[in-house]
């Protein structure tokens, strides 16, 4: 199972991952992966919230948003999180290739 670790300068780190509960919660909040190009801003916000739900269920959406404000959201990072999401969604239907990566992300 892939995961992404984000770390800030102070050494605080978060492990981003998805479980089925998080995926359903994201869907209920209106997340649609196909909207990433049409509505990138709101989609990325929901995607990032979902990436925190598994390991940090105690964090409120606003807190997650605040953490995400400190992350440099470049295309490679968003793509990696999106792949992590796709891997979790498709984990049972045999369509996912073994794309597990330990993407390390650090804010400079």
């Amino acid at each position: 199972m892939g995961k992404i670790v984000i770390k800030n300068e102070a050494g605080k780190s978060y492990e981003l991952a998805f479980n089925r509960s998080a995926i359903v919660r994201m869907e209920k909040a209106g997340f649609k992966a196909e909207n990433i190009e049409k509505e990138p801003l709101s989609t990325v916000v929901l995607l990032m919230r979902g990436a925190f739900y598994k390991n940090y269920p105690q964090l409120a959406d606003e807190e997650i948003d605040a953490i995400c404000d400190e992350i440099e959201m470049d295309e490679a990072f968003i793509k990696a999180v999106m792949e992590l999401y796709a891997e979790a969604v498709l984990s049972l239907n045999g369509q996912n290739k073994n794309t597990s990566k330990n993407f390390k992300w650090e804010k400079n």
Partner: protein
């Protein structure tokens, strides 16, 4: 079972609906509700693999049972023949289960060899006794 798990979650269903449909199958395979919803999504794959192994084991067990039945039927077959000669007897049912693993096969061979050696030893002793009596 299994085809349900291969269905794409996007085929006219919400992801939640697809997960809700898959969940009971995984639970039937031994996956807990919490593992399915809250643990790594990959954990379900292990249950699927375990289910496949269990299915194969069950199939082998049934095959073996059928084989025992077949052997037993063959053993009694001579007396089932209406034209069987008088005095036809059934073959006895095997004294022990078939050796299935290489270890069991080696064990049986060793046992047979030991029995053969014992018989040979007995025969030698009897011959010795007979020759003594003859003197």
């Amino acid at each position: 079972m299994g085809e349900e798990l291969n269905a794409s979650p996007h085929e006219g269903k919400t992801i939640e609906q697809a997960f809700n449909e898959i969940c009971p199958y995984l639970i039937a395979m031994g996956c807990s509700y919490d593992d399915f919803w809250y643990n790594d999504t990959d954990i379900a794959k292990q249950y699927l693999k375990a289910h496949e192994i269990k299915r194969r084991q069950e199939n082998e067990r049934l095959w073996l049972q059928g084989y025992y039945f077949y052997v037993a039927l063959c053993d009694v077959a001579p007396v089932l023949n209406a034209f069987a000669k008088k005095g036809t007897k059934v073959q006895p049912y095997p004294n022990e289960p078939f050796a299935l693993t290489m270890e069991e096969i080696a064990e049986r061979r060793e046992q047979e060899e030991q029995e053969r050696q014992n018989r040979l030893q007995n025969l030698k002793e009897k011959l010795k006794e007979m020759s003594k009596k003859g003197e």
